[in-house]
């Protein structure tokens, strides 16, 4: 449940935004990010962006998240 994922913001309308990673899009809220902009990377947790990341850090996190998801997939396939 505590797993948070990095997403790139590709659309923003008020507090609603669309985050994207690996071609998968997710509707998230950006209530807690000051002045969010398209192209920003954020950490998303349970549907809410909780912090902004810089691009390099986000790419590092994305690689790690892929690995964790792979493990989760293997676990649920068992």
């Amino acid at each position: 449940m505590c797993l948070a994922i990095p997403l790139k913001l590709i659309e923003i309308e008020g507090n609603e935004a669309v985050g994207e990673r690996d071609g998968i899009r997710r509707q998230i809220r950006v209530d807690f990010i000051k002045d969010p902009a398209v192209g920003d990377y954020v950490i998303s947790h349970a549907g809410f962006a909780i912090e902004r990341l810089d691009k390099e850090q986000a790419e590092e996190n994305i690689a790690a998240a892929r690995e964790v998801e792979q493990v989760l997939r293997e676990m649920s396939a068992q």
Partner: protein, 356 residues
């Protein structure tokens, strides 16, 4: 230097520290999982013991609360909306879960975000939508935002059963327990995103216990362990931040403001730790129309429940999963007896998946 060489270098530095036997505790379900899947415990020197603390929100939710949730689920016209893990948690009556009740006609839905519950309430005005607000400081802001959205939308059929808890009072209770024997904390990175480095300073300043805020990758955790070992070796106690890529010293003020707007601290019941003063978050009087407890007249009282399940000891660091008589036989991920086995982030589920 390759990744493997870097690992070996860190591990040999940890092994060469002159510190005797120490216990280090993480308090985050994602850390539990990451440690289990990476096999970190097996590559660390034998004098470093890693414990899983009360960091999985599902695992610290006690039977009494699950009983109340399950009683609510069978009420006519109620839809229980929850994050996935809660669906399989039994209360004091083994085998009865939201999932089993769904098979018997109850309406329980899994959502990804608290906002999904608000949307469901908007399109289902004839039903009472009860959102199970479970989690720590990381999910509390989103739950608060959902309540505020429900107010703005003028919803009359949406409420939150707040099971939210905060990390600091639980750590204080744990430290005050007899036999507490932890020399350093691996602090949860995503909670720290909200409460900041400052939210953990009490560990070092009041109790002289070192803490390192860590991200969720195995190498983040390894570096955190190394830094804790160094602090122990030199008798230092500081809060270091290994997860600088996401955590600011002061955390996320807007998120904390949202929590403060909707919730206030209250006494809260934890599995394994009992009632901890001011460790929970309840909905303020101002928003009582959106408080499930007020709406349905629910009072959660501690019960004297006798069970051989040792989840409580596991999350307070007194027992390893394998010390529990039910582990792996009467309690497995397919047929869990306790929440540490139900949640994929629970210490027992992690130990079972990666060790059995």
């Amino acid at each position: 230097m390759s990744g493997l060489q870097a690992y070996e270098k860190i591990i040999s530095a940890i092994a060469s520290a002159d510190i005797g036997n120490i216990n280090l505790m993480e308090v985050c379900g994602t850390h539990t999982m990451s440690i289990a899947k990476s096999g970190l415990k097996s590559i660390l020197p034998g004098n470093i013991r890693l414990l899983s603390g009360p960091g999985c929100p599902v695992c610290v939710t006690p039977d009494e609360v699950m009983d109340a949730v399950l009683d609510l689920a069978v009420k006519k016209d109620v839809i229980i909306v929850s994050y996935g893990d809660m669906i399989r948690v039994p209360g004091s009556r083994r085998g009865i879960t939201l999932r089993s009740l769904s098979g018997a006609g109850a309406d329980c839905r899994i959502v990804y975000s608290a906002m999904d519950a608000v949307k469901l309430a908007e399109i289902t005005p004839e039903k009472e939508i009860v959102f199970l607000g479970v989690g720590f400081e990381t999910t509390a802001p989103g739950t608060a935002a959902a309540v505020i959205s429900a107010v703005e939308a003028g919803l009359k059929n949406f409420s939150v059963l707040s099971l939210l808890k905060t990390v600091e009072p639980a750590l204080r209770a744990l430290i005050a327990e007899e036999g507490f024997n932890v020399q350093g904390f691996i602090c949860p990175g995503h909670v720290a995103t909200i409460i900041g480095e400052n939210g953990f300073r009490f560990l070092a300043e009041e109790f002289h216990i070192p803490g390192v805020i860590s991200g969720f990758e195995a190498d983040d955790i390894l570096v955190a362990i190394y830094r804790l070992v160094r602090q122990v070796e030199f008798g230092r106690a500081q809060i270091e931040n290994e997860y600088t890529r996401a955590v600011a010293a002061d955390g996320n003020q807007a998120a904390r403001q949202a929590i403060k707007e909707v919730f206030e601290p209250c006494d809260s019941l934890w599995r394994g730790l009992g009632m901890i003063p001011l460790s929970g978050l309840r909905i303020k009087e101002k928003y009582k129309d959106f408080d499930t407890e007020a709406r349905f007249g629910i009072h959660i009282e501690p019960l004297d429940i006798k069970t051989p399940c040792r989840c409580g000891d596991v999350i307070s660091g007194k027992a390893d999963p394998a010390d529990c008589p039910l582990f792996g036989s009467f309690c497995t991920p397919e047929d869990p007896a306790g929440p540490c086995m139900v949640s994929s982030e629970g210490a027992c589920a992690a130990a079972y998946r990666y060790a059995m």
